[in-house]
């Protein structure tokens, strides 16, 4: 069903968890950039819409050994037999083999939510209500004309700020270029992160920082052993953090004790 990426781009992300402070700027930047609808009461997280979620984890040890870390979780843009793409009955979610980006076609989504059931990362949110952007509070002025707002009854998710790719490509074409420079296209979360924990770029391009970071011995992916092949990598020098990224049977987890390079 799915062809390989070949020589095209494969956009991906590396998130350095040792740098992440859990400030949530990535979430806010993502929401503002992508016209995420809000609710009068946002405390119900099972019904709210977040393309970039933040999970807080702890090593479970008592003071003074207590440590915390944060997992920013965008859509993983899975590469292999993408769980959501393969199940969608109406082809409303697709993977672009020229970019590796998994898109969601809002105007085609019928709202069956099978993709949500198939995604183990909870990266997909459903519009349980009509889009809501409170007037008089300035939010409507932030609406981006580049991103279509979503209607009630459809699923939405992180698009790796696909409109930014379109913008960068348009600019490159007008300058008679066919290839984008590194950092010419980055996501809103990567741009906004105050500690530069998020690196974005082409995983297929060995010159891009992201592809070098992804090869780090400290790099890992969420639920890697399920075989979804996410394009979002994480970095952490802490074994207990890396262990949290997947399920392991006793004795299976191999700590990174002497990394090379």
């Amino acid at each position: 069903m799915e062809e390989e990426h070949g020589h095209g781009n494969k956009y991906g992300m590396v998130i350095d968890l040792d740098k992440c402070t859990g400030c949530g700027t990535c979430m806010v930047a993502c929401a503002a950039e992508n016209n995420l609808s809000v609710r009068p009461d946002e405390s119900d997280k099972q019904h709210s819409i977040t393309w970039m979620s933040l999970y807080k984890i702890s090593n479970g040890k008592k003071f003074p050994d207590t440590e915390y870390s944060y997992f920013p979780r965008p859509c993983m843009h899975c590469n292999h037999h993408t769980p959501c793409v393969s199940v969608c009955p109406a082809t409303a979610t697709k993977i672009d083999f020229n970019t590796g980006i998994v898109s969601q076609i809002y105007a085609r989504c019928i709202g069956c939510r099978y993709c949500m059931a198939a995604c183990p990362y909870h990266a997909r949110s459903f519009n349980w209500w009509d889009g809501y952007f409170p007037k008089g509070k300035g939010l409507e002025r932030y609406l981006s004309p580049e991103v279509s707002p979503r209607m009630r009854g459809v699923v939405e998710k992180c698009s790796f700020c696909h409109h930014r790719l379109m913008r960068a490509k348009t600019k490159a074409y007008t300058e008679n270029r066919r290839e984008l420079e590194e950092n010419e296209y980055i996501t809103a979360c990567a741009e906004a992160c105050p500690v530069q924990a998020i690196t974005f770029g082409d995983l297929n391009n060995p010159e891009h920082k992201v592809s070098k970071l992804a090869k780090s011995p400290y790099a890992f992916r969420l639920l890697e052993r399920l075989g979804t092949e996410p394009k979002v990598y994480y970095l952490s020098t802490k074994d207990w953090v890396r262990k949290f990224a997947d399920n392991y049977l006793p004795g299976e987890f191999k700590p990174v004790t002497s990394p090379k390079g």
């Binding site: 069903m1 099972q46 019904h47 999970y55 984890i57 997992f71 899975c78 037999h81 769980p83 393969s86 199940v87 969608c88 009955p89 109406a90 082809t91 409303a92 085609r108 989504c109 019928i110 709202g111 069956c112 939510r113 099978y114 949500m116 059931a117 198939a118 995604c119 183990p120 990362y121 909870h122 997909r124 949110s125 459903f126 519009n127 349980w128 209500w129 009509d130 209607m151 009630r152 009854g153 459809v154 699923v155 969420l222 639920l223 052993r225 399920l226 075989g227 979804t228 262990k243 949290f244 990224a245 997947d246 399920n247 392991y248 049977l249 299976e252």
Partner: protein, 411 residues
């Protein structure tokens, strides 16, 4: 008042009694219609489904009624293709039950999707790799087949039958019914399987994921088998219930016995394969995902008891009851066996739908619970109200049971 519409030679209750009988079911249906209207008007925020529970009570009901309604195609297959003549006495009832189950399920799915007006996109923008696309194709086509199978029965109404054109049409439909039975069997095998496939292909959800043969996970075959095992049992239950309520014998005992025997043997085959499948899952999928068997049975109320209940209590026991000739000949045991069989299949659909989604996959994710709202219950239970009304109307005005006159001579 409506005596002209009632089939000749049979006795029916008075119009007033019939009207009173329909009232609670109309109330149930009204509750469902109000709930459905709210969901269509205000959106699915009327439910307690969430980003965690993308599938919930409605999908459990949908899958259950589609499995229980499998009696229609399977009895049709046994009657017209295999040629079990005694089942001709119960085939009409199975067609009506099938029609109720499938039309109800399609209606529920129409409310369950977030954009009902776009339902046809499944056909227009179809993703042929999606199990849900196959389910949608097959249940829509099969509902058409069931309508065609139901039509000659409706046209046999005393007044409709007097119209020569309708009589001829109905007569000719009867002659080609084997073609529709075969079509229905083909379509049903695939969508029952695809419903199981829907869960089995979710390879990123280790609780539901199953390996299988080529593109079909094992759940594909298990769902077919469990549906054809439970369908006949559900037909027996509905018909026995109709007999109790009408205080008449409607179907000769040999039809019940044939269905019960087939149901029992299919259930036993299913349970053996289900046990093998569970063992393969425990030693294959589960450790490969870095998990142990008990990791799936420690969250919330979902313990190992669920598996014991599904396989042993509502699987092995009803299989033994229905396979044992002396047991199934006793009405009490027959009904108990059928009821347990159907409960087991509903439980299986519940586990695949709710428990699959309730169990977190990411190690740092948390278990969340779900309780349906009154609107969700309303839409679900309306299916029962709708079913009883359709069956009651059919029984009153149509010659559903060919042997009724012979078994209950009007003096």
């Amino acid at each position: 008042m409506d005596s002209e519409l009632i089939p000749g030679g049979v006795k029916r209750c008075s119009t007033r009694t019939f009207f009173l009988w329909t009232l609670p079911w109309i109330a149930l249906l009204t509750w469902g219609l109000v709930s459905a209207f709210l969901c269509l008007w205000k959106g699915l925020n009327q439910t307690n489904m969430s980003n965690y529970f993308a599938f919930a009570l409605w999908i459990v009901f949908d899958l259950s009624v589609i499995a229980l309604g499998a009696g229609a195609f399977f009895t049709g297959f046994l009657t017209y293709i295999i040629g079990l003549k005694e089942l001709k006495n119960i085939i009409n009832a199975t067609v009506i039950i099938g029609f109720i189950c499938y039309s109800g399920a399609v209606a529920m799915l129409g409310i369950d999707i977030g954009q009902p007006i776009r339902g046809w996109f499944i056909f227009w923008h179809v993703n042929v790799h999606s199990m849900l696309a196959e389910v949608s194709f097959c249940i829509t086509c099969y509902l058409g087949v069931l309508t065609i199978e139901y039509l000659p029965l409706i046209l046999e109404n005393r007044q409709a039958d007097k119209i020569p054109a309708l009589h001829l049409f109905s007569h000719n439909l009867h002659h080609i019914m084997a073609i529709f039975a075969a079509t229905g069997t083909f379509l049903s095998f695939f969508h029952q399987g695809s419903l199981g496939g829907m869960y089995g292909v979710m390879y990123a959800r280790p609780f539901a994921f199953r390996e299988g043969f080529y593109v079909w996970p094992s759940t594909f075959f298990l769902f077919i088998l469990s549906a054809i095992a439970a369908g006949p049992s559900f037909t027996i239950l509905c018909t026995k219930l109709a007999e109790k309520i009408t205080r008449k014998r409607l179907v000769p005992e040999n039809a019940f016995q044939t269905l019960a025997k087939i149901s029992g043997w299919l259930l036993s085959t299913y349970i053996v394969l289900k046990i093998i499948d569970t063992i393969c899952w425990v030693y294959g999928v589960v450790p490969r995902a870095g998990l142990t068997f008990m990791d799936f049975y420690k969250e919330g109320p979902y313990g190992v008891w669920l598996l014991v209940l599904e396989i042993i209590i509502f699987g092995v026991i009803p299989a033994i009851i229905l396979m044992t000739p002396s047991a199934r000949k006793s009405e009490g045991w027959l009904i108990t066996g059928c009821l347990m069989n159907c409960t087991g299949i509903v439980l299986n659909r519940f586990i695949f739908t709710i428990v699959s989604l309730a169990i977190p996959v990411m190690p740092f994710d948390k278990f969340v619970s779900y309780l349906p709202t009154w609107q969700e219950w309303g839409v679900s239970l309306a299916l029962i109200g709708y079913g009883v009304l359709i069956f009651s109307l059919s029984y009153r005005y149509l010659p559903v049971f060919p042997k009724e006159r012979e078994l209950n001579p009007v003096t």
